[in-house]
């Protein structure tokens, strides 16, 4: 990490996710061979905090950038770090096709069920009845559809090798998430296919909660809809 102070709200999972990603790259001694792609969203400034070469992608397009970078530089680690609006709304096509082509990249997907940067609007992953600035009376699934389980969706694609969903609000969670990210970087580097790590995270500003309360709310509401654990390992779906 650089020594810059993180711009994220107090208690936001982004900071932890950034740190464990960088720790993994340190452990793999891969800093000199890694190119990261930042999205548009809260983590648009990821390149201010991650001390590696990074490119800032247009909203939703990071998987396309990563595709080109990896194909042009096959000896490098290439990853995207994206939020749910970036990856599951505007970037759906780029996400699905990068996965379908089985690009040997890592996608780190922070799912906090809301658009954080722009002030808490509803995202494709916003839960039913969950309030946001564009669903003030709660998300009405009748008119705005159900939360998009993009991770389960891409797990079906043969090009995807490893899919897992983690959380970083508890010590155990952080340890598991770090192990998963490390596995993702190792396996994509061995050209086994796309490795996808979703991190369900809190957004206390968007959810309008205290940080600690938001983590409790997350466990009670987000986890039932986005269950933690491995979804696909070594190219095989884990049967639930």
């Amino acid at each position: 990490m650089t020594d810059k102070e993180l711009s994220y709200c107090p208690g936001c999972g982004h900071g932890t996710a950034h740190r464990i990603t960088m720790e993994v790259l340190d452990d793999l001694d891969a800093i000199k061979d890694t190119i990261g792609i930042a999205p548009v969203g809260c983590s648009v400034l990821a390149y201010e905090f991650m001390n590696i070469d990074m490119q800032q992608a247009a909203h939703g397009r990071a998987p396309a950038l990563a595709t080109a970078v990896k194909r042009l530089w096959p000896s490098k680690h290439v990853f995207t770090y994206q939020g749910d609006g970036d990856l599951a709304a505007i970037g759906t096509a780029e996400t699905i096709h990068a996965c379908n082509r089985g690009e040997n990249i890592v996608i780190i997907f922070i799912n906090n069920g809301i658009y954080g940067m722009t002030g808490g609007q509803m995202a494709p992953t916003t839960l039913p009845q969950m309030k946001s600035s564009t669903s003030p009376n709660g998300r009405d699934t009748g008119t705005m559809g159900h939360p998009l389980k993009i991770t389960e969706l891409i797990a079906q694609l043969p090009g995807v090798h490893f899919v897992t969903r983690q959380a970083v609000h508890t010590p155990g969670g952080v340890r598991k998430a770090k192990k998963a990210i490390k596995k993702a970087f190792e396996q994509s580097f061995e050209n086994k296919g796309l490795c996808f790590v979703e991190i369900v995270s809190n957004c206390n500003s968007g959810w309008k909660m205290e940080p600690r309360a938001s983590n409790v709310w997350m466990e009670e509401n987000m986890f039932p809809y986005y269950p933690l654990g491995d979804i696909k390992v070594n190219g095989e779906l884990i049967s639930k």
């Binding site: 900071g15 932890t16 205290e210």
Partner: protein, 72 residues
């Protein structure tokens, strides 16, 4: 053989989110009454029974906690 721990908090960078408080197994940390220059109450160690387990440092989103431990 027990472990004795000590934490150092970068009080300026702490944003007072309190996410670390519930994960301390020996409840040695609390939010200070004082605030840093940005007006955040920062976390501080208030008891000696710290065992250096690093739980607080693991979950701290801003990485402001450094943990030291020694075998005693």
């Amino acid at each position: 053989m027990a472990m004795k721990g000590k934490i150092v908090v970068d009080t300026e960078k702490c944003k007072g989110c309190e996410v670390c408080i519930p994960v301390c197994p020996t409840n040695v940390i609390e939010m200070s009454k004082l605030v840093n220059s940005k007006g955040y109450h920062f976390m501080e160690q208030v008891r000696e029974e710290c065992i250096g387990c690093t739980n607080c440092a693991l979950v701290c989103p801003d990485g402001v906690i450094t943990v030291y431990r020694v075998k005693v």
